[in-house]
Assembly symmetry: C2
């Protein structure tokens, strides 16, 4: 087996409540500030630890972050699809899927005044599905 037994601590509850109470996609530091209004002695480390756990349990989505927070670069400036694997964190191209999705994204977003974009899908890559 794997997942350890979780305890329903007040700190974890409040972190989740505060996150659910906003639509601003806060950073950990921003969330720390709003949580502190209710739990003045909570530490930033605890906020980070609980966000990790809540992401693991699927209650929270972590955006724009990969392990270690390192940015990744792509030498191909043409818009194309990327898949960032949620297990191994590697990023790979999904060139084959591009044309149809690109058409749809483009035509859908045109009506929204968004003139440039690229897409990062997050899922589990083929390699990790097969290997474990």
């Amino acid at each position: 087996m794997s997942a350890t037994q979780r305890r329903n601590t007040r700190q974890r509850q409040v972190v989740l409540e505060e996150l659910r109470a906003t639509r601003s996609h806060p950073t950990a530091g921003e969330l720390y500030h709003s949580v502190r209004d209710r739990l003045p002695r909570i530490s930033l480390g605890t906020v980070y630890r609980n966000l990790d756990i809540l992401q693991e349990t699927g209650d929270v989505i972590r955006l724009a972050g990969c392990v270690g927070q390192e940015a990744r670069y792509d030498g191909n400036p043409e818009p194309h699809l990327h898949l960032q694997c949620q297990r191994c964190q590697r990023v790979c191209d999904l060139d084959t899927v591009l044309p149809v999705l690109d058409d749809l994204v483009g035509s859908t977003l045109e009506g929204h005044g968004i003139d440039g974009y690229h897409v990062i899908l997050r899922g589990v890559c083929r390699h990790c599905r097969n290997g474990g």
Copy 2:
């Protein structure tokens, strides 16, 4: 006017060449190592500076990074679209666009063995388009 006059330095050339020579979406640190095989005295700071410039000129795409590298969190675990603005860096939901895009992404990716995903679009948000 805005953009300063660029100089075509060897360091910048090699950073771009090495990035174009791989499909692995390397981090700045990884790229630094491969560039050093050719330019042993280059510094990590120079790699970062050139990646910034190359992104500005559109030769390179920076993935999974936002200003200051802070991760952002979302308390709504339902798959939905996000737009991260390339000017103001804010993340906003694009709920209205979801249904059609979600259908397409889902059916397209099913055939690729990807069982979970979310989408981050990067573009310019309505607020920045109107305000400057």
